[in-house]
């Protein structure tokens, strides 16, 4: 059963008084409100003031005829449908066509038939209500869309806070990224370690929009948090993989390339999981070494099966690492041809000014595709002199009132631990509880890292640092390191930390002892300081950054001191 027709307000425009009277009665009897007009002008005015829902319009009227009045009323109605039924004894199709052109929706012939009129009113009303529903839904959709856009804006603002706590503005980084990169799943992060090394991550989440952006937040938190604490790439990778594996659905993952550039050690450490090849460009030889993906993306493997092994390559001052997202290779032209790796390498080969490389690649993409792409991410990181980069000061969250002033602690890390554990972040965190040491955290970490690495690599593992004098030796060195560490059965490193007050300030004494063969301390001390050499026990560095550095027990034991004055 159809619901009863609701009462409408109907305008009747008819110049014949008798006809007007008759029609009004008929319409009122059918349950509607009636407005009347005797000519077109009156009809338009009545419509303007009272906004009836339906109009019965005589075609021939004085002052203004029905056609003109109909056009004006339709214009006034705008988006809303106000059905107009022409009252006419016009029979010729030409005249009827004129009615339709003027905006008429139907006709009623004279003499008036009540049954037909009722049916037409009902049908027109259905149409009217249908139109109203369509407009309402359209407005609802527009509102909803607006709301979604706003949500995305908010999400982006929150994410920007997290993403940009890094050092992408450092002088040795150049990058290109769309402002909406996040919503394409692209992520670019960079941060300094306490020792002054730089970690860089270029990532690409599967999917688009908010789902991709949501995965990026926890990843960024891990990256920044652990980098600031002094963790190495492998540990950070393990944590990022575990986190993504845990929180993301099975079919979501993050391709990523991670770099650690060490200005002190003149090396770059690389891990690439599922990203296109990166390139290490050596200024001296002009060679470009591809950094291929050798791992699965993050978030795919369980923690037990995850492979955190990195590659280490030598990097001289001025060398650059270049990373790009797959948006570059995947750029298509009108024939669905891919830009591809070959074209990219041609741009590399043709490049004369390293600083112009980005612009040249963008231009090549534009030329190829016919227009610019806005979802490509590229980053270029170069190795500068250690003095040219200045890591920002660490921010501490405690109030600075209480700290331990007189204590000591000893650790002994044995073979099984040395294989799988890096104690440096913990040691550093411990030492940073001493407020007086905070201003020297960079030097502290660097010295500790150097002492520990010497003790492990040269002491316990017995590696010969002179291997690192060239690129192939470099690779062999790190391979040996990896192998010997895997096979390690015995050995230890002992670390002793002692903090004592001294006047208004204090003193930290660090002792590191290893179970290795030791070295000829005298000979190493006598070698001239050589900043360019990649090898050596970093003895010079240790002496430069700490006080009263000394070696004993045939080089198996090292001792350094740090001092601080009273805090202001």
């Amino acid at each position: 059963m159809q619901p009863p027709l609701e009462s409408l307000t109907i305008l009747i425009a008819e110049d014949s008084a008798a006809d007007r009277m008759l029609l009004s009665s008929i319409v009122r009897r059918q349950g509607h409100e009636v407005l009347t007009a005797a000519n077109g002008a009156e009809a338009v005015e009545a419509f303007r003031q009272q906004r009836p829902q339906l109009v019965l319009m005589d075609a021939m009227m004085p002052v203004m005829d029905g056609f003109e009045a109909a056009q004006q009323i339709k214009a006034l109605a705008g988006e809303t449908l106000v059905p107009i039924i022409f009252l006419t004894s016009l029979t010729e199709s030409e005249a009827l066509a004129r009615c339709l052109e003027a905006g008429g929706d139907d006709f009623l012939a004279k003499p008036y038939n009540q049954v037909i009129l009722a049916a037409k009113i009902k049908a027109m009303d259905r149409l009217r209500r249908l139109q109203a529903t369509v407009l309402q839904q359209r407005d609802q959709i527009a509102r909803h869309h607006h709301y979604l856009l706003n949500e995305q804006r908010v999400a982006k603002a929150v994410f920007d806070k997290v993403a940009h706590s890094g050092c992408l503005s450092a002088p040795n980084i150049r990058y290109l990224q769309s402002p909406y990169a996040l919503f394409n799943g692209d992520l670019l992060l960079a941060a300094f370690t306490p020792a002054g090394d730089m970690h860089v991550l270029l990532g690409d989440f599967t999917g688009h929009g908010l789902p991709a952006a949501v995965g990026a937040m926890p990843l960024a938190e891990v990256f920044y948090g652990m980098t600031a604490k002094g963790y190495g790439l492998s540990e950070i990778l393990r944590e990022m993989n575990a986190k993504l594996k845990r929180i993301l659905p099975v079919d979501m993952f993050c391709c990523a390339t991670l770099l650690c550039l060490s200005f002190q050690r003149s090396s770059v450490e690389v891990w690439n999981g599922g990203m296109p090849d990166g390139y290490l460009h050596s200024v001296a030889s002009g060679e470009r070494t591809p950094l291929k993906a050798q791992h699965l993306p993050l978030g795919v493997l369980s923690p037990q099966t995850f492979d955190d092994r990195t590659d280490v390559l030598p990097m001289a001052v001025g060398d650059r690492v270049f990373l790009l997202s797959d948006g570059v290779i995947d750029t298509c032209d009108a024939n669905e041809q891919l830009f591809g790796v070959e074209r990219l390498q041609r741009v590399f080969a043709a490049n004369r000014q390293p600083d112009a490389l980005f612009a040249e690649i963008e231009q090549a993409l534009r030329d190829f595709r016919g227009e610019a792409r806005d979802d490509v991410s590229m980053v270029e990181v170069s190795l500068l002199e250690a003095t040219q980069v200045s890591p920002p000061a660490l921010v501490y969250s405690d109030s600075g009132q209480c700290c331990p002033l007189d204590w000591s602690v000893s650790f002994e890390f044995r073979a099984a631990t040395l294989k799988r554990f890096n104690p440096l972040p913990y040691l550093l965190q411990l030492l940073l509880e001493v407020h007086g040491l905070r201003a020297q955290s960079g030097a502290l970490y660097t010295v500790l890292a150097e002492l520990y690495s010497n003790a492990l690599e040269h002491g316990v593992l017995g590696l010969d640092s002179s291997l690192k004098r060239d690129a192939s030796g470099f690779t062999r060195y790190y391979q040996q390191r990896s192998t010997r560490l895997d096979e390690l059965q015995d050995g230890f490193i002992r670390v002793n930390l002692q903090v004592t007050p001294k006047g208004e300030g204090g003193c930290l004494t660090v002792r590191v002892e290893d179970s290795g063969k030791g070295f000829d301390v005298e000979r190493v001390m006598q070698r001239p300081a050589d900043g360019v050499r990649l090898s050596g026990r970093g003895v010079g560095l240790i002496r430069q950054l700490s006080r009263n550095a000394s070696w004993s027990d045939d080089g198996r034991s090292a001792r350094v001191e740090f001092f601080w004055e009273a805090l202001a």
Partner: protein
């Protein structure tokens, strides 16, 4: 063709619809009709003639004056085709037809007025 002068079925339907206003409607029609006849007699050009005839045709048919409506239709067609030769004759016939039906309408008025019973409103 013998058209009906006044269709009684139409009249009863009108009375049913108009209720109390029935006689008012008839009066209004008669006044209207006289005005239109005046225009028809004095029409100066074909367009005026055509529009007046068209209008008269409409209301006559609504009021059940079938023959009158038919005559108006003929006049309308003549005027449209700019065939002014038979116009005078047709106007005369219309005049005559109206003179015929007019007393019938007036009788209807008188017939329905005395019965001023209160018709229930809804």
């Amino acid at each position: 063709m013998a058209d009906t002068h006044l269709d009684r079925d139409v009249l009863s339907a009108l009375q049913e619809v108009m209720g109390d206003e029935y006689s008012t409607l008839l009066d209004t029609f008669l006044d209207d009709a006289e005005e239109r006849l005046r225009i028809l007699r004095k029409a100066e050009d074909a367009a005026q003639l055509m529009n007046a005839a068209h209008s008269f045709k409409g209301s006559s048919s609504n009021m059940g004056a079938i023959r009158l409506a038919e005559l108006c239709h003929e006049l309308e067609q003549c005027a449209k085709n700019k065939n002014l030769s038979g116009v005078e004759k047709l106007v005369g016939e219309i005049d005559g037809e109206f003179a015929l039906v007019r007393p019938l309408y007036e009788a209807e008025c008188r017939r329905s007025s005395p019965t001023k019973a209160i018709v229930p409103r809804f």
